[in-house]
Structure formats: structure tokens, C-alpha cells
């Protein structure tokens, strides 16, 4: 219990520190570290998700069609509500946790254990500035970009390949999709993915900087904890967003239009 409270407090402090230091991203070594993080999280991950994301849209539609015997309207709604709003950001977050979360937590933990963070400290380089800020902001932006990419591929894959499964043309489905699509869908996915990226990066940085002990054995423990808690945080954020959007807000004054 005490450990959980300590982690929550540490995570909040880290988050506040990142927000207070945003202007320092302009410093050359921090900016470089930020760009590296965006490249690693966003660009190098993008090639690996093409097939999986494309298959995702088709798979979900195929399963729903078989189970519900649905028409074009329902197929497009499924694409929009399930793939675009929910599965897309979650799939991108899973990729980020598995690729970037593990890398960040392991890298920082190794630096901590081997005394490299101490070396930075002696050189007058602030650890939050140099290690945490570029990673958190970089992962946030890259997760949002990766989410858009996954959403596009999943929806496009669904539109292109679904006509082979259900009796509807690509143009018919695309037209219906643009009728139903609202900017809220886009904003919802972006805000959620930014929060996912923030939670994953902050959690992994915090665990990397706070290993249980300063031995090599603590590195795998750090990675396990960081990945597990990142996944839990992502699911929690997703649940909160789902309630906010699909539930009735402000004592019934605002109701999500689904």
C-alpha cells in the first residue's frame, strides 16, 4: 500500500516536473533526444504495424458480420466506433508499451545502476531535463501519430477488404463512413492517445529512475513493473474515456451522441 502511494506520488511529481520544464525542449541536447525518441517510437514502429493494423479492421468486421448478420450501416459504424475510437488507440498503445516502454525503462535503469545518471548529475545536467522530458513529450507525440497511422490502416483495410466478406462496394462503405465521421471522433482519439503516451512514458521513466536496488538484477524487475503498470494505466484511461463519452455526463445535461 505504502509502495503504491509512493509510486502515485512519484508519478505525479514527475508529471508536474515535465509540464514545468516544457520550455527547456529548445536546448540542443534535449531537442536531439526528443527527436530521437519520436523517430524510435513513431517512425521505426510504423513499418511493423502495417499488416497487423490492416488485418485488424477486416478481422473485426468479419467477426461482427458473421455474428450479427449486419448490413453496410452497421459495418461502417463498427469501423468508426470500435476500430477508429477504441481499438486503434489501444493497438498503438500496446505497440508503444512493448517497444518503447521496455526500451525506456531498461535504458534508464541501466544508466541508474551503472552510475551514468550520477555522472550526468556531476556534469550539472538535470536528469528530468535530459532523460525524462524528451522521452515523455516524444512518446506522447509519437503515440498520437502512430494512433492516426494505425487508425488509417485499419479503417482503410476494413473498407478495401470488407466487400469480399459482405455484400457492399468500397465506394458505398466509404460514402457512409464520411457521412458518419465527425471531428469529435478525431479529437477523441488524439486526446486519448496523447494521454496514453504520457502515461506510458512517465511510468517507464519513473520506474527506470527508481529501481528497487542498484544491482544489475533490478533491471528486469524494473521493466516488468513498468510494462505491467503502463498497461494498467492505459486500460484505466481508456475506461475513464469510455465512461465520459458513452455515459451520461453532468447529471444528464450532456449525452454522447452515438
Amino acid at each position: 500500500m505504502l509502495q503504491a502511494l509512493r509510486e502515485i506520488e512519484g508519478g505525479m511529481q514527475l508529471s508536474l516536473n515535465v509540464m514545468a520544464r516544457l520550455a527547456r525542449l529548445r536546448k540542443p541536447p534535449i531537442l536531439e533526444s526528443f527527436l530521437r525518441q519520436v523517430y524510435f517510437t513513431g517512425v521505426t514502429a510504423a513499418t511493423g504495424v502495417v499488416l497487423r493494423a490492416t488485418a485488424l479492421g477486416v478481422l473485426i468486421i468479419a467477426v461482427m458480420m458473421n455474428m450479427l448478420e449486419a448490413d453496410v450501416d452497421l459495418a461502417v459504424k463498427i469501423l468508426l466506433l470500435l476500430v477508429f475510437r477504441e481499438v486503434g488507440p489501444l493497438a498503438a498503445a500496446v505497440v508503444v508499451i512493448l517497444r518503447t516502454g521496455t526500451a525506456i525503462s531498461a535504458e534508464i535503469a541501466v544508466m541508474r545502476v551503472s552510475g551514468q545518471t550520477r555522472a550526468l548529475h556531476y556534469l550539472g545536467v538535470d536528469l528530468y531535463d535530459y532523460l525524462v522530458l524528451p522521452r515523455v513529450v516524444g512518446v506522447m507525440l509519437a503515440t498520437a501519430a502512430l494512433t492516426l497511422y494505425v487508425q488509417f490502416l485499419a479503417v482503410f483495410g476494413g473498407l478495401v477488404l470488407s466487400p469480399f466478406i459482405i455484400a457492399a462496394s468500397f465506394m458505398e462503405m466509404a460514402g457512409r463512413l464520411f457521412d458518419l465521421f465527425t471531428p469529435v471522433d478525431f479529437g477523441y482519439a488524439i486526446v486519448k492517445s496523447l494521454l496514453f503516451g504520457f502515461a506510458v512514458a512517465a511510468c517507464c521513466c519513473w520506474h527506470g529512475l527508481n529501481p528497487p536496488d542498484l544491482t544489475q538484477n533490478s533491471v528486469p524487475k524494473v521493466v516488468t513493473r513498468a510494462v505491467t503498470q503502463s498497461a494498467m494505466l492505459v486500460l484505466l484511461i481508456n475506461a475513464v474515456f469510455a465512461y465520459v463519452v458513452f455515459g451520461i455526463l453532468f447529471f444528464g445535461l450532456v449525452k454522447a451522441n452515438v
Binding site: K27, P29, E107, G115, Q116, A119, Y122, L123, G124, D129
Partner: protein, 213 residues
Amino acid sequence: MSSAAAAELAEHVGHAVPVVRYERTRHEDHLSVVVPAGKVTHVHVPDHDAKSHLVTAILKARCEPGESLELFGTSVAELGPRERKRARTRIGAVSKVVGLVTSLNAWENISLPAAYHGRPSLENVVALAHEVLSAFDMAPERFLAHLPDELGMLERKVAAFIRALVTAPELIVFDALEDGLNPQECRRIAHFESVYRAHQPQGTVLYVEVKED
């Protein structure tokens, strides 16, 4: 006052305030170190633990219970966070305690303090790196792009030395400088002192070695 008398007075004043005054009492062992300003001092400590405590205390500008430390004439116990940070900027080191960052190549390691603090300019760092590397017959293009794990022990120490020189330290600590080097490399690394002197004529040099019985 004649110039000779002025020099004598300056030397006397320099001696009056040592750059480092360190004492550590542990059980019945007692270690006392005094490093005069502007001089080269060799300190031999009995074991690695004592060496680690001494070097860490100086680099941190902070001491643990059982230790006392004065840096540049001021007890570190009296220093606030800002003064402690300022004191640390006056000290450079080639030591395992301040190793290179393994995810950055040699050039990024060398230029990191300058790039982060904005001084000195990167042009000056480039000039300094080229000057030191040429003094050690090392080709910059073969040296600077490599990660620390791809470098030999001598090259790593040279990179750490250049990084320390970048901040123009008033005190430089060479911690177990010859560890892991062969005799030929030890002869080459002995030039660190003269290179440091060329950049900091008034600087203080402290060698810390373990002398086990």
C-alpha cells in the same frame, strides 16, 4: 613591492587556502588529505572504499558522517544547494565515478555539458577536442563517432579528459588513471597533466591511487 616579492606573497596566499582539505575517520583508520592550490598532489589511499569515498565527496561537494571536507576554502557542510552546484562546476574528473554515457558516442559525451549549459561554444569544444586528440595521435574521425563500448580503455579516458577540460575546471581529479592500461598507454596518459596545465596554468591536479600493502 618587487615582482619577486609579489610572486612569493601570491604563492604564500595560495598555500594558505588549500583547494581540498579532507578528513575521514572510520574505526581506527584515519585519512587526511590536503591539496594545495595550483600544485600537483598524489594521494595514496589504503583501499578502494577509501578512494571511492574521497573522490565521491569531492565530486559531490558533500560528505558523509565521519568525513569532513573543505573545498576552495569553504566547508561543504555550510554550502547551500546553489553554492554546492557552483563548487561542483569548478571540479573536473577522469574517474569511474563520472563515466561516459554509453548510449552517446564519444563526441556527444564530450559536447554534452557545453551543449546543455550553452557554454563554451561548440566551436571551442571542437577545437579543444581536435587539439587534445592530436596531442595523443588519435584521429578525430575514427574516434568521435564511436560509442564508449567500442573504444579502448585509453580512448575512453581521453574522451573523459576532454569532457572534463571543456568546463575549464580549477581542480582536476585523476582517479586511478592507470587502471586497465598497459605500460605504453600509461606513458601516453601521463601527458594529461601537461595538457591540463596548458589550459589551466593556475589549476590544481589531484591524483588518487590505491596503495595496497
